[in-house]
Symmetry: C2
DNA sequence: TAGATTGTTAATCGATTAACAATC
DNA sequence: TAGATTGTTAATCGATTAACAATC
């Protein structure tokens, strides 16, 4: 089977669960060498059948009668999610949220490397976050072009989110991870993920007041 | 039709879109009094039919031949999402992420009121964030009980997330909004929403590398 | 009346679950 | 061999889309 055949047509919700599986698996201590579909499903909060169906889309993951091998699982999921090779990122906007993201532990575990941090505030320029010096936002496009950065993270105030996004895309960024409350838009050939806090809290409010009781 | 009949059985994904509709509608200037399903769907990035089907689940929203009334839409969506009455919240963990959340603009717009902020770090206790003094985490349970807080936000390091969660639930919190990388679990009758950054970036990586090109 | 628009049903599509064969 | 486990198909369930009637 070709790589294409393996990676095409994975259902959208299956991809999200792949991420959750992988996220859980990497926290397991090294001594845990194998895990069953029911153990894992129980922890994630889904049914074992769904997990097996998910893995089935990848073709021939495990063996009947045997549990899944944890190392292999991690390897295969990383591969599907394209996390095997390092990917460089830049971040724009050094407020509390920007600093929280820049300091986020999970990145290097998944081969994601923050290369540049940018802000307009002269007081912040030069500040070191994780050994990276904050640069002037004017340098953003040059930096992206020079280092061929493909992933841009936006944690600016909402007024500047779309402009920063446009600049990133213009300089060659192909994926935007947006934490500003503004829903930014991108042209064809670029992907964007708007992490909208409001949606989260409204959904929680609905579940608290309408689902419960 | 009873309230129950109106609010039961709204599809899960429809609720998430309700949040996105409302989030967009409140940003409209006051002069915009009505909006059509196609205008709104275009901005949100879905099909008009889906939007009308969503509103149909609420029963008799608009009128054939006329656009939707923005004020009424906001009123009705707020009602469904249970955002009409003020809801009190507490937050535990005053790192960068905690401060970013505490300073988040969107809350009061949706009647969500942050009442208490807590941390273990003596250097942070007493610090004022949005006119709220950071208190010692030891005071958390008493505060929740005294003020009958129903919503708890967790932005502590992952080691303490589950303990803080347990303490919140024990004191009466019914909804947990968790930003720590640890997937916390809650007993029956409590809802939890784990906002997992890793899932977001892995999904973005998949889309960048597997969907594009 | 003609055009624009939403309401509502039915058809389609996609995701989840059940069932059981295959394998260890 | 018996028990545990995954692989894989088919059935079910839920979500999206199409079509058009109803209304302004």
């Amino acid at each position: 089977m070709s790589e294409d055949a393996i990676f095409k047509n994975i259902p959208q919700f299956t991809v999200l669960r792949f991420a959750r599986y992988l996220n859980f698996l990497v926290t397991l201590p090294d001594v845990v060498e194998e895990i069953s579909s029911s153990e894992m499903a129980g922890i994630i909060g889904i049914k074992p059948t769904q997990l097996r169906q998910d893995f089935f889309t990848l073709g021939g993951f495990g063996r009947q009668g045997k549990k899944y091998n944890v190392r292999f699982l991690i390897h295969r999921l990383s591969e599907v999610l394209a996390l095997q090779k390092p990917q460089d990122m830049v971040l724009a906007g050094v407020g509390h949220l920007g600093q929280a993201i820049a300091n986020y532990q999970g990145f290097e575990r998944f081969n994601l490397v923050l290369r540049g941090i940018f802000d307009v505030n002269p007081k912040l320029i030069g500040l070191k976050i994780r050994d990276i010096q904050v640069q002037d936002l004017d340098e953003l496009q040059g930096f992206i072009r020079q280092h061929k950065i493909q992933i841009g993270i936006i944690s600016t105030p909402h007024q500047s989110a779309q402009i920063v996004c446009d600049n990133m895309v213009d300089a060659g960024v192909k994926a935007i991870w947006n934490f500003s409350p503004e829903n930014v838009t991108v042209p064809e050939g670029v992907v964007v993920q708007n992490e909208n806090l409001s949606v989260g809290i409204m959904n929680l409010s609905y579940r608290l007041n309408r689902e419960l009781a």
